[in-house]
Symmetry: C2
Subunit: 299 residues, 2 copies
């Protein structure tokens, strides 16, 4: 059971919260809001009966409902599902949305989510505030949900021109109640920045790891791999399905970043070929200074 606090005499931010997808991300959001005393009742929606049952057992969710009922009752709905299934569940909920209901999501890319939401919701897209909590963990599913997951994390919102200020304010307040810092950004900027600092490391780590594993002497290589290898490849162990979807969803931004990475790789390889120590050192200095200057080492 997740403990519950409630500021005396103050109405919670959300009377009924619906969470579509009660895994790590959705379950942690519900748990954090409950711990902050900012939610009345939590409705769980999803396609995986085992996850839903575990979410109820853990006290993340009070009740399991169909999307239509969630739409009728909830003051806020968080979609924490793969973008592939988003359009369908939005279309089911659209005719039933409670007046004033605010919708938000937790997808890792935003341009595709916005397009899907516009297509599925029509004019009701004004209620949809796209978001992305930058928090992940090795573990997934309701058992991994943690009311502290979002503390000191950043949540990016990519508001639509149609979003009324109250809708934006409500989503912002909920994430802040979870302990997160909230920033706004347009969807294109979000996708470019995340392609660079989140998706590209996963792509490169997987490419590198696959190359090592495909070598005829892979076992000998892996036996001599040390701590540098360990850290560099850690993220290559992530969920293949999830990362496939993220890469495809953010394809245009990834392609642009890949071209930029290749340009630097070409320079570095040329310096190596030419035995150009000065050029190699300049590149390594640039990288080392930037990395040493990065302040988030403790996160």
């Amino acid at each position: 059971m997740i403990s519950q606090g409630s500021p005396a005499g103050v109405a919670p931010l959300v009377d009924e919260l619906a969470v579509v997808g009660v895994g790590l991300i959705g379950g942690s959001f519900a748990a954090a809001l409950r711990q902050a005393g900012q939610v009345g009742r939590v409705l769980g929606v999803g396609r995986n009966p085992d996850s839903l049952r575990r979410a109820v057992e853990r006290g993340l969710v009070d009740e399991i409902v169909e999307p239509e009922e969630a739409a009728r009752r909830a003051g806020l709905v968080l979609f924490a599902t793969p973008v592939g299934g988003l359009a369908q569940v939005l279309a089911r909920m659209r005719p039933h949305l409670r007046p004033g209901c605010v919708l938000t999501d937790a997808g890792s890319t935003k341009a595709e989510v916005v397009a899907a939401a516009r297509a599925a919701l029509g004019e009701s897209v004004a209620a949809f505030v796209p978001g992305h909590p930058i928090a992940g963990a090795e573990r997934t599913g309701p058992d991994a949900a943690d009311p502290h997951l979002y503390q000191r994390r950043t949540v990016v919102l990519t508001p639509l021109p149609e979003n009324p200020p109250e809708a934006l304010a409500r989503v912002r307040a909920c994430w802040q109640a979870c302990g997160a810092a909230v920033i706004d950004m347009d969807a294109e900027t979000h996708d470019r920045v995340l392609a660079s600092v989140s998706h590209m490391p996963h792509f490169l780590a997987a490419v590198y790891m696959a190359q090592v594993a495909a070598a005829p002497d892979a076992a000998q290589r892996l036996a001599l791999a040390g701590t540098g290898f360990r850290d560099f490849t850690r993220i290559a162990a992530g969920s293949p399905e999830m990362w496939r979807d993220i890469f495809l969803s953010n394809r245009a931004a990834m392609q642009a970043e890949l071209a930029a990475v290749r340009a630097v790789l070409d320079q570095a390889e040329r310096a190596l070929q030419d035995g150009d120590g000065a050029a190699l050192q300049a590149l390594l200095e640039h990288a080392a200074q930037a990395r040493r200057g990065w302040r988030k080492e403790t996160q």
Copy 2:
């Protein structure tokens, strides 16, 4: 002061040890042998007076001597200096080598070291057993020296056909006394394997980090970078001079590995361009399985 134990009534493996370069690697070797009671006296050789003085203050080294005197007195000499300066110091020591003296080194690449040793030592190269302790740390210099650095680490020896079995056995026994596991390999295999699992991650991490840092919106990117980025780029903060020398020293093997990495990168990028989810997922699965199967997570 490093504490000293000495198995009662048993002669130590090395009566007088000379360490050329008394930083992390050389200082830790001396400290570990001393703690194991396997060394009589430690002679320090080097070009940096501050490092030599600190090594004496910390009890890593008993006495500072010139290379010629170290050659005359030492039963074992460890070269823990950049490969660039190795030929010169070997040439100075060669005419003075005590009969039966064994020479070894700790360089990160082996083909270039072997060539330099052959050129500098002539027939005396039989006394030179090339080695590479696979252990590093963020810190450098005699203050970072640690008698436990080599415990449960691997040391690769790349013996020469000329090495007498006694020389090889002495070097092996010393590293084992430091707590390391010792394996033999030919120099070419060593350089290929290390290019893959040690040098390539540093090269790619630096290329990636330099690309992010060069973006016009680098500050915004770095502000949103999280734990995946943190681990993937950690090694990009390493010493630019040291890694420049390693890349150049292992140039041929690095170029071969880069070609193999590019081939997988090309495949992955093509799958992305084509929106080929099955191909992307196959690559990600291959990488994830290989990484999850790697057993050294705890190192």
